[in-house]
């Protein structure tokens, strides 16, 4: 693994974890110190993150962590809705026994993460579960797209997961997705994932608008 890859992961993780706030400037040389790499690496990393949409570059100002408004977040949730519905549908059509086993394992991990309450575990387990679905449906490009979009709303997702683990309705909805796939019922799988995403989007909207109105004070 190259230095750049490591720097990339660290920065991405830092942004997702909220270590850098949205709108924060990303000054190159301090970043070099923090990451322990040279400017070349930092600059190339920033270029990559810029293309990913996690970082914006203000002309003659430099890079900042991309700002997130509900307008854009909503669009992202809508796109996810389309892609994930399609993936769940196909997944339910195609899933063989081996696939179901793998998905079941991901579900078990997810259950564990829900009960542990660790937002980070929850985050990873959720990602794994979705990855499984896209994997089975054979839509790796769509998965790439979803992941990239998720990066842009990662902080929002972390917040959403954080609140949702209190009401455990979230897990139940995911279980429904699983059982629809397990019984190879595309319709039900699509419906279940739509329900789940709609709910997630609603929570996200509440949280984000609350945060924005607070920061305007």
């Amino acid at each position: 693994m190259t230095l750049r890859d490591m720097a990339l992961e660290k920065m991405r993780a830092a942004i997702i974890a909220g270590h850098f706030q949205s709108g924060d400037r990303l000054v190159e040389r301090p970043l070099c110190d923090q990451l322990g790499v040279s400017r070349s690496v930092v600059r190339e990393t920033i270029r990559y993150l810029e293309a990913e949409g996690l970082v914006e570059i203000l002309p003659n100002k430099g890079p900042i962590v991309a700002k997130l408004d509900w307008e854009n977040a909503q669009q992202i949730y809508e796109i996810r809705m389309l892609l994930e519905t399609s993936a769940a549908q196909k997944c339910a059509e195609l899933a063989k026994d081996g696939d179901k086993k793998k998905l079941g394992k991901a579900l078990a991990q997810l259950k564990l993460a829900y009960s542990s309450g660790e937002t980070n575990d929850l985050f990873e387990a959720t990602t794994l579960f979705y990855q499984c679905i896209f994997d089975i449906s054979g839509q790796n490009v769509a998965w790439e797209v979803v992941q990239r979009l998720n990066g842009r709303i990662s902080r929002l997702r972390a917040m959403t997961l954080g609140t949702r683990d209190r009401h455990d309705a979230g897990y139940k909805r995911i279980e429904k997705i699983y059982s629809a796939i397990e019984t190879n019922d595309p319709q039900a799988a699509a419906a279940a994932i739509q329900l789940h995403l709609t709910e997630a989007a609603n929570i996200a909207k509440t949280l984000l608008t609350a945060e924005l109105s607070k920061s305007e004070k």
Copy 2:
């Protein structure tokens, strides 16, 4: 505009125009000469293109122009189908008179481009038309996604447009999309754009498989 932006556009254009073949190595130092910039700029540009998916990086080998197989291209067409259907639908719902005027203008340009037969004009006009649709539907994030995906199949699209302008069925299908939007008929708009895309994907498949079987000889 920074040097990087220029280098980025040049490289992207060169890849799309087929000046660099898929699988070609992108050796840094020669690129510096060709673009007239330093290695740093070239490297950052490559990083960006890597994130865009236009360039792959082989470990210990360096960057190459991303290879395109039908497997991935098909997935991209499927994603476009979802996103563009949704956009056309929303566009047909929302389009006001002013929007329709703009779209009509884009259509007129497209007609011109079709009759001129310049693949490049056709490419731009098509892009403009679609941009208009996404614009009206208010889905700028989805447009970003589509554009990025299109970058990855750009060569394929250019080939497709090149053959399609011979049969002018392509323009007629686009006209149908327009008229569906013009009459605010979401169902028809969705159907029209699906037809158009399916056709494009079919042509693309034919061309790509033909090319691949030829290069295997």
